[in-house]
């Protein structure tokens, strides 16, 4: 938790940097605490507790830019490190675009601002409570099925806080907590393979966390994998599960960053205002949702966040442009990165989407793969189920999907109404037409 001593050291470090050659400086101090409990089969497997502090300082020295971070937050050592950092920065080439944001763009705190991101009861939950929860999760399924060889449940919690100051007048503070409960189940079947799966929940508040049914869900998902095999290569309709749908949206987001655009390693260069994907897709960044992971009043530069449309009916509405890249590209800055992004929802739930599928592949997981950030070409390993006449008939694995990101999103046919709300990226199940699957 940020205390006065952390604020004092942050302000002191900034002033010290300014006195020793910086024209401008920005400092953040982060503190955090984490607990992790893993329970496997019949016993506690791992108990881990930690707390940490970190100071990050940026130097703006006559148009030159450097940074330094450390967990050694003692003045005597910091003095030396800051002086060394400034001296090193002087050796660099001048980069006139390295500047702090204009102070008008900074977030200005008001007393009513509370995104409810910290569970005030965080310190009240005991190790025994957490251990009981992990044990009870394992016991939901352990020895309920002769095929089970391993059940592992982990309970993790953490809280963090940050104090952030910049020499042209920004001061901000944030604090959050997170609790998660995860179960992993592995089975032994007639073959050597051990089908395995997981399920989890994760929340800002302990009271909101799903505390039962996690291991049962993981077991069900593992059992459904038994008999996985690859099927014939071809072009199939693809139903993308809501647990993994963000994986295919991530390359689009990466291509919207100023750094990728300026370095010509983005497949969305010069596409602002153009129809780039299906008109069925609208994506919003809404940074001020209460009790939501990713919510925040300001970004990594202190710039105030706001609700913005990223893609509007398939039209690219914004890039993520920070101060540096806005100056370098001679364009207006937006925000350095998205906060809580979600797709505008359709009307049908997952079951209805599944039942509407005559023949296709329902993807429940990805296995490796990558996207060429410059061209948008991608290829990913997948697992899931063959769907015939609205029913999942065969678990599939060891297959790839391959294509181009823009073409893939042009082929979006329908968006479901079932996003998981325990992540900062909230995407529902989605259906895509004519996707290339490689198998047999």
């Amino acid at each position: 938790m940020i205390e006065n001593k952390h604020k004092e050291i942050a302000r002191w470090a900034m002033e010290f940097a300014l006195k020793n050659g910086c024209n401008a400086s920005r400092v953040s101090v982060v503190t955090g605490q984490n607990n992790s409990i893993e329970y496997r089969n019949t016993q506690l497997d791992k108990l881990q507790q930690s707390s940490e502090n970190k100071l990050f300082i940026e130097f703006f020295v006559n148009g030159r830019y450097g940074s330094f971070s450390t967990n050694r937050i003692e003045k005597a050592e910091l003095e030396m490190s800051i002086k060394n950092g400034i001296a090193s920065t002087r050796f660099l080439a001048e980069d006139i675009f390295r500047q702090l944001p204009h102070s008008d763009r900074y977030y200005k705190a008001t007393k009513d601002d509370d995104l409810d991101l910290f569970d005030a009861s965080y310190y009240d939950y005991t190790i025994d409570q957490k251990l009981d929860l992990a044990r009870a999760t394992v016991e939901e399924v352990y020895q309920t099925d002769s095929r089970i060889v391993s059940v592992m449940a982990s309970f993790d919690d953490g809280c963090g806080s940050e104090y952030f100051v910049a020499s042209n007048g920004f001061e901000g503070e944030s604090r959050d907590s997170a609790f998660s409960l995860t179960a992993e189940v592995a089975l032994k079947t007639e073959s050597d393979a051990r089908p395995e799966s997981y399920w989890y929940d994760s929340r800002v508040y302990f009271s909101d966390l799903q505390k039962s049914g996690i291991a049962k869900k993981a077991l069900g998902r593992a059992i459904r994998k038994i008999g996985q095999k690859k099927i014939k290569s071809g072009r199939y309709t693809m139903l993308l599960d809501n647990t993994v749908s963000l994986r295919l949206f991530a390359p689009l987001v990466s291509a919207m960053y100023g750094s990728a655009l300026q370095q010509k390693s983005s497949f969305l260069i010069n596409r602002l205002g153009q129809q780039v994907v299906s008109d069925k897709l609208t994506v919003i960044d809404d940074p001020h949702i209460h009790r939501a992971f990713g919510s925040r009043w300001f970004d990594g530069e202190g710039v105030a966040t706001k609700r913005q449309t990223i893609i509007n009916k398939g039209v690219l509405d914004m890039y993520f442009i920070d101060t540096y890249h806005s100056l370098k590209m001679n364009t207006e800055p937006t925000i350095s990165s998205p906060s809580v992004i979600s797709a505008e929802l359709g009307t049908r739930n997952f079951t209805e989407l599944l039942q509407s599928l005559n023949k296709g592949i329902w993807i429940t997981g990805f296995n490796g793969g990558n996207t060429n950030s410059t061209t948008g070409d991608f290829s990913f390993g997948i697992e899931g189920y063959l769907v015939e006449n609205g029913v999942a008939t065969q678990p599939v694995s060891e297959m790839n999907i391959t294509g181009n990101m823009l073409q893939l999103w042009q082929n979006l046919m329908e968006i479901g109404c079932d996003p998981r709300d325990n992540s900062s990226w909230r995407f529902p199940s989605m259906v895509f037409d004519d996707i290339n699957f490689s198998g047999l």
């Binding site: 190790i127 391993s150 393979a193 790839n400 294509g403 047999l440």
Partner: protein, 478 residues
């Protein structure tokens, strides 16, 4: 020359962390006070620096310092862990009591006989990174950028990054083992984007070693510049093949990713101890062609994955995973070694003092066979040749592994023809191992900046392979 692997080195490291062997014994005693049967302390002080170039100028520098000690208590297979970010005795004792919470049977501790560990030094260096100024490093970064632009007029962007790190490590455990290590690392990477007829393509090249400043040479600059430009040029000509099952010739070097993903992880003993690996019941069994030997080796001099001593005080060593086609050994840390009643293979590694050690690979490679690469290519009617990769992954239980191919070639009627790019290849570990039908005579250890992720921890690794023919893998494509 710095002392490494001897008593003087240990004394120097005790001094570095401002602790005495008495302090270490007190902390271990506290860690075992609730009945743990093993405890260890891992001290680490890491300095890392990066300078980078964009748009023709070296215009960004960053540095980081990380310092602390991790305290682990083990009882049976169970682990208690805590760390502190200083080495004050009171704080270490407090963390030791936290880690001790894994056990609950208070018992008296007997004094420990301290036994300094001696070992070979596999990363001798000439000039330590802390002695090198930004100015000295900067010229190599600039030269690499300039060479990339010199080599091809189509280059429109280049970025270069130089990262160095130096870790001071001290280890002590309840068996009295006391060791220290000094771990350097240098990574130089370049990426470039080229434009041709309105199309853009990018390429990347890197090298990473446990070396000092001597790592930076004009030869290295020349090699990386040519590699990045050649790779990017190839991308303009490349297509995606028609996907499906087909023979794959894995070119020597980076193709070691096949071993790392297809079998390496599944041989890490924690997965087998927990009975969740597809290789859990295979120890001592024939798993592939009897001409195949697979090694995980911490003793490859100056390699990114080399370790003088692992993070549990076990000396660096070379371990045969597969010998003559038989599954010879899992990769062990101390916990799994005790579980299986064998010696640790020195694979107990961790990302930093913030993490518990786990069985991790070091430099994983297959020994050379006797088939010339051209004979493999000649034997394939239709398939692919691949030799340039970005990333891979494996599902331990199912055994399904993948790796992403940045570039390669189609093989048609025994000849390399059209370049290919950006495809994923997927297979099943035991099956792929059994499907290796030819092993080349050209083992090459790849020297790229490979990093392996597991349980949220990243560690530097290496990999290598002679060219091999896998008779059947599923290749992504259109």
């Amino acid at each position: 020359m710095r002392d490494i692997g001897n008593s003087t080195a240990i004394q120097n490291m005790l001094h570095h962390f401002k602790v005495s062997t008495d302090d270490l014994q007190k902390v271990i005693s506290e860690a075992l006070s609730k009945g743990g049967d093993y405890a260890d302390l891992f001290f680490e002080h890491t300095f890392s620096n990066n300078i980078s170039l964009r748009d023709g100028e070296v215009n960004r520098a960053s540095s980081n310092i990380d310092y602390g000690v991790g305290i682990r208590v083990v009882i049976g297979d169970q682990t208690g862990y805590a760390y502190v970010e200083n080495t004050r005795l009171d704080d270490m004792l407090r963390a030791a009591r936290t880690a001790a919470g894994i056990a609950n049977m208070p018992k008296e501790q007997n004094p420990i006989n301290v036994t300094p560990l001696t070992f070979n030094n596999y990363y001798k260096i000439r000039k330590e990174w802390p002695d090198v100024s930004v100015e000295d490093k900067k010229r190599f970064v600039q030269q690499l950028n300039d060479r990339v632009f010199d080599l091809d007029r189509r280059v429109v962007k280049a970025s270069v990054s130089l990262t160095d790190s130096t870790s001071y490590v001290l280890f002590f455990n309840s068996q009295g083992v006391l060791s220290s290590d000094y771990r350097p690392m240098g990574i130089l990477a370049v990426s470039c984007t080229m434009e041709q007829n309105g199309s853009l393509e990018s390429g990347y090249a890197s090298r990473a070693y446990r070396k000092g400043f001597e790592f930076l040479t004009l030869h290295l600059i020349e090699t990386l510049a040519h590699e990045a430009v050649a790779q990017t040029s190839l991308m303009f000509e490349a297509i995606k093949p028609k996907g499906g099952e087909m023979p794959v010739v894995m070119g020597a070097g980076g193709s070691g990713i096949l071993l790392h993903e297809a079998i390496g992880h599944a041989f890490e003993a924690d997965f087998n101890r927990k009975n969740v690996s597809i290789f859990s019941d295979q120890l001592g069994k024939q798993v592939c062609n009897p001409h195949i030997n697979v090694v995980d080796d911490g003793t490859v001099e100056n390699a990114r994955g080399a370790i003088n001593v692992d993070d549990e005080g076990v000396a660096g060593q070379k371990t045969y995973i597969v010998k003559d086609g038989v599954l010879e050994s899992y990769l062990h840390d101390r916990i799994s070694a005790r579980h299986y009643g064998v010696q640790s293979t020195g694979n107990g590694r961790r990302q930093s003092f913030r993490y518990t050690p786990l069985p991790r690979m070091r430099v994983t490679y297959m020994e050379s066979g006797n088939v010339p690469e051209e004979d493999m290519i000649k034997s394939v009617e239709y398939g692919v040749y691949v030799d340039n990769f970005t990333n891979g992954q494996v599902q331990i239980g199912a055994g399904d592994f993948t790796f992403f191919v940045k570039s390669g070639y189609l093989i048609e009627k025994g000849k390399l023809t059209q370049p290919i790019k950006d495809i994923n290849i997927i297979g099943n570990g035991p099956q792929a191992l059994a499907d290796i039908t030819m092993v080349g005579n050209n083992l090459k250890i790849d020297e790229g900046a490979w990093t392996c992720g597991k349980d949220g921890q990243s560690v530097p690794v290496g990999q290598g392979l002679p060219s091999v023919l896998v008779s059947k893998l599923t290749v992504g494509g259109e």
